[in-house]
């Protein structure tokens, strides 16, 4: 029987737990990618080793399609694996995880295709690949080089699985909303999220109040600065995450000119860099 969405998550969690990855709960703030999770962003800094795996809901307001596009949604799930330092057989571990999910590597074509990752808001970049399964991107494989403007030493190896695509492929299913939630039940992905996508897309594109959003953005930025001055790095970082989400919403509403968009990104990046510096104990005046 084909695995449902939840089965894929469970299977990955089981697999990586066997490889000494701590199971971490998802973070309870809206974020654009699992890289924003403090257990990714902050743990990638500094010399301490780190092995973790978790799934994380991600929101990209601009990707909403009112629940009508079978491949796109404004909320989706990533499964993230972090290995610091990355082991010698990192790629093999990943390939074995695909086998564990039921992908037959002697039948299907899996390839590592150059893709360099960059997050302008987080002041972060890394080199790696997108992973193709029969020509479809199912995962992102990255060696972080810089996070929050800080060099990563040792580097962290990051795998981000696209859970919806992976499950769709395993089910031979062309519509994410038709995915079975689990192999036992009647519940589908659409039962859980179709209406949500419809309403959230309306909110993101039509109803979100841009004045309120602007106010929120400013408030989060302001508070992040204040908290950094009081030496409260983790609370400050939560403000950064929220500022970034407010920015994404403003962007989806086309409420920012090219220049002001750049400016917003820059302001978030400066904060992310300040957080990274303070987290590492580098003495720097707040921006």
């Amino acid at each position: 029987m084909n695995p449902g969405f939840a089965d894929v998550v469970q299977s990955l969690q089981g697999y990586w737990a066997e490889h000494d990855c701590a199971w971490i709960p998802p973070y309870d703030l809206p974020m654009g990618a699992a890289t924003f999770h403090p257990q990714t962003f902050l743990r990638a800094l500094g010399p301490e080793p780190w092995r973790a795996a978790f799934f994380q809901p991600c929101r990209r307001p601009q990707d909403g399609r009112y629940g009508e596009n079978p491949n796109r949604s404004q909320l989706y799930y990533q499964f993230q694996v972090l290995l610091k330092p990355p082991p010698y057989d990192f790629q093999d571990l990943f390939l074995t995880s695909l086998s564990a999910l039921g992908i037959d590597l002697t039948t299907d074509d899996v390839r590592f295709v150059e893709d360099n990752w960059e997050s302008p808001t987080l002041g972060a970049w890394g080199l790696g690949w997108e992973v193709w399964l029969n020509g479809m991107e199912i995962a992102q494989f990255t060696y972080f080089q810089q996070i929050g403007g800080q060099e990563c030493r040792p580097v962290t190896g990051e795998i981000t699985y696209g859970l919806e695509r992976l499950t769709m492929y395993l089910n031979g299913c062309d519509d994410m909303f038709a995915l079975p939630w689990s192999k036992t039940g009647e519940l589908s992905y659409g039962d859980l999220y179709r209406r949500y996508e419809r309403e959230m897309s309306r909110y993101n594109f039509e109803e979100a109040d841009t004045d309120i959003l602007r106010g929120r953005f400013e408030a989060h930025v302001h508070d992040a600065l204040r908290l950094l001055e009081s030496g409260l790095v983790l609370p400050a970082y939560e403000e950064v995450i929220q500022a970034s989400h407010s920015f994404n919403l403003l962007d989806a509403r086309h409420a920012l000119s090219v220049r002001s968009r750049q400016d917003h990104i820059l302001r978030i990046r400066r904060l992310a860099q300040a957080v990274a510096q303070q987290y590492l104990g580098v003495k720097q005046p707040a921006p």
Partner: protein, 705 residues
């Protein structure tokens, strides 16, 4: 082991998947670096190295490298002779100290001119020891686009290095690179041969790869690798023939060397999968289907014997699938939603004619203070209006095309596939019922997107393509945005290269200085600022031109010195110069030109020459005057016809008379009138000699400069 024991050496660096374009660059760079190193350490024997690469390895095989280089005499300079011995001839402390430091008896020191020299017999290099010392530096010095760190104890590289293979004959060299120890194995194909393969001896390397189901690309086999992949693709495609009987064979793969190379860089074992898609997607323009398949799947499209696009694709894969049917279904399932998305965008775009998007252009801001897309459109229209008469292109269609040129940027399709910019404008305009020359110009004006691309074929397309590039180049220069080093955010080098290629194609002939002036005028730059920027733009384009022509530097400089106004003119001069230099007497002419320049450099300009030749000028002088006068008459006409070959022939023919002149006539005659006359004659000659190029800049055998 004897010191002259030359044996083959294999060096293979095993990596995680390297980006396709960097594979040949790195492999070649590795070969060069090793070769230099072996030369330096006197370890290299005769024979050409072989170079291979795959996504997961770079390999070099040298036919002869020795394990040890022989001991050699090293000469170390010591103190000056004067400081080495005191007045009584006894060694000074400086000399004794030097001898001790070099481990040489003071009596055995030698003299080299005014210095003391110690000559020591030094042990030669040991291949393994030397390599271990050199490898980290050597790898750090390879031509990498972007390096990354993955481990503390290995040098940064393009992607992680996971394996080092060093075989000298059948000996595994005891070499460490960080935590890696060199081995005698190579890795096989990930799936077909997961276990490592032992390479018995360096020369067995290609065979070992074959055993391991790995097909590498070799430096001399790039064309063969492309052909191989093409054959595999064509064979895979032919399996579909029975499913699509309405498409008469033979089917033809759309040849695309760049896409083949990109794919080869992703394959260790080329294989292919072919699949079909619903004919409903043929509603999409062919270019869209091609781009969707190419960009998202790196797949190829097929045409039947009538040239009709077949609703199918063929994609390279890195696997002989155990279940080809399942693999095919897998690919088809990925291709279908991509085409569905494209079709959705296409239909959505078609709800509004291109023209309606003009209103939205002001919403899209450009970088670097260039205003909005609406501002760009207005500048393009104005520029087209200015250029159309200069270049002799009918203005109505050109203006319409310029007006619509930015509209497709607002379509959903181009939003999703930026590669379709221009192309989309072309087919949307055609579907809107715009004139054929307008839609063709829209499709062509983005060409060439990159070097080697086709160029605009219609005059209107070429005109708009020129206008677009001039608008960007002049606008950026006017705002102080210029490429520096690696950084070229506006793609100005590519724009300039494209502009020159279009002019070289010969559909339009334009004077660069005039084009830049018009381009600056639409950015509201004129007067002295404009003159200065025209100069900078001209220099910038000369740099591009030099890389397009890839000519000898001195010849390029010689032509550049006379500032040709168009790239075609430049090319013709360069070609004429090249063929003229084949003549035996070319060297003599260049030498005379240098001599004339040397004489003229020493004279002052102040005094006017006499109105007529002084009486009693020697025949050699008179003969030269006659020749110069004749040439002054003929050459301008030849130049107007751009007959540079004849001009240079005429100049070469002056050699004999010049020789006689210099042999029999003294230019710097004590008689002022004679001197001034002869200088004026040489000046006239010099001017003629520069009709094609500054000949004195050419390096000829035996010349010093």
């Amino acid at each position: 082991m004897s010191t002259d024991d030359f044996r083959p050496l294999l060096c293979e660096i095993g990596c995680e998947e390297l980006p396709p374009p960097s594979q040949p660059e790195l492999a070649l760079s590795l070969c060069e670096a090793l070769q230099k190193f072996f030369e330096r350490t006197d370890l290299l024997g005769p024979g050409e190295p072989q170079v291979w690469w795959t996504p997961r390895r770079l390999a070099v095989l040298f036919p002869a490298v020795r394990r040890h280089s022989p001991p050699y005499h090293q000469r170390v300079s010591g103190p000056l002779l004067a400081r080495a011995y005191d007045s009584t001839g006894r060694p000074t402390p400086a000399l004794i100290g030097f001898a001790r430091a070099q481990g040489v008896d003071p009596d055995r020191l030698e003299r080299d001119g005014a210095r003391i020299v110690a000559v020591r017999l030094v042990d030669g290099a040991d291949l393994a020891v030397a390599l271990e010392g050199e490898l980290p530096t050597l790898l750090s010095g390879l031509a990498c686009r972007r390096r990354m760190v993955w481990s503390e104890d290995l040098p940064p590289f393009t992607r992680p290095i996971r394996r080092l293979t060093l075989l000298h004959g059948d000996e595994i060299l005891p070499v460490h690179l960080g935590t890696l120890r060199a081995g005698g194995d190579t890795s096989g194909h990930r799936i077909h041969h997961p276990d490592p393969v032992r390479i018995p001896s360096a020369l067995d390397y290609p065979q070992a790869l074959l055993t391991a189901s790995v097909v590498p690309v070799s430096l001399n086999g790039r064309e063969a690798a492309r052909e191989h992949l093409q054959r595999i693709l064509t064979t895979a495609a032919s399996t579909l023939a029975s499913e699509l009987p309405s498409h008469p064979p033979p089917w033809r793969l759309e040849f695309d060397p760049e896409l083949l190379d990109e794919n080869l860089g992703l394959l260790e074992h080329p294989a292919a999968v072919a699949g079909t898609f619903d004919t409903a997607y043929l509603e999409l323009p062919e270019e869209v289907i091609r781009v969707v398949l190419r960009v998202k799947q790196r797949a190829f499209v097929l045409r039947d014997s009538r040239g009709t696009l077949i609703p199918s694709f063929v994609a390279p894969v890195n696997l002989e699938s155990r279940d080809p049917h399942r693999l095919r279904r897998g690919f088809e399932r990925v291709v279908r939603p991509r085409l569905a998305d494209a079709l959705f965008f296409f239909r959505q775009d078609r709800e509004h004619p291109l023209e309606e998007r003009l209103r939205g252009l002001s919403e899209v801001a450009l970088e670097h203070g260039l205003g909005s897309l609406a501002d760009r459109t207005q500048r393009l229209v104005e520029l087209t209006e200015r250029l159309a008469p200069i270049l002799g292109v009918p203005r109505t269609a050109a203006l319409r095309a310029a007006q619509l040129s930015q509209c497709d940027l607002l379509t959903a399709l181009v939003g999703e596939y930026p590669e379709l910019e221009g192309t989309a404008g072309g087919f949307y305009a055609r579907l809107d019922g715009e004139e054929e020359s307008v839609s063709t110009a829209l499709a062509e004006h983005v060409l060439p997107r990159r070097p080697g691309d086709p160029l605009p074929q219609s005059p209107t397309g070429a005109l708009l393509a020129l206008a677009l590039r001039l608008e960007i180049l002049c606008g950026s220069f006017a705002r102080g945005v210029q490429p520096s080093g690696q950084s070229d955010p506006m793609g100005l080098r590519r724009a300039a290269g494209g502009l020159l290629q279009i002019l070289l194609a010969g559909i339009l002939e334009g004077n660069l200085f005039a084009l830049f002036k018009e381009g600056l005028a639409v950015h509201r730059v004129d007067g002295p600022t404009s003159d200065e920027l025209v100069e900078r733009l001209y220099t910038f384009h000369l740099e591009r031109l030099s890389s397009i022509f890839a000519a000898r530097t001195d010849l390029f400089q010689a032509v550049a010195a006379v500032r040709p106004t168009s790239p075609m003119d430049f090319r013709d001069r360069l070609l004429a110069l090249r063929s003229a230099l084949d003549r035996d007497d070319a060297t003599r002419l260049v030498a005379f030109n240098k001599r004339i320049q040397n004489i003229l450099r020493r004279v002052e300009d102040s005094e006017p020459p006499p109105g007529r030749p002084p009486d009693g000028e020697p025949p050699a002088s008179q003969a030269l005057d006659g020749l110069v006068t004749a040439l002054e008459c003929e050459i301008p006409e030849r130049l107007a016809q751009r007959d540079f070959v004849t001009v240079l022939e005429r100049l070469l023919d002056t050699g004999y008379k010049l020789e006689r002149f210099f042999a029999e006539v003294l230019v710097m005659d004590p008689d002022t009138q004679r001197r001034l006359y002869r200088i004026a004659l040489l000046k006239r000659l010099d001017r003629i000699m520069h009709a094609v190029a500054a000949l004195e800049k050419i390096h000829v055998p035996g010349s010093t400069s």
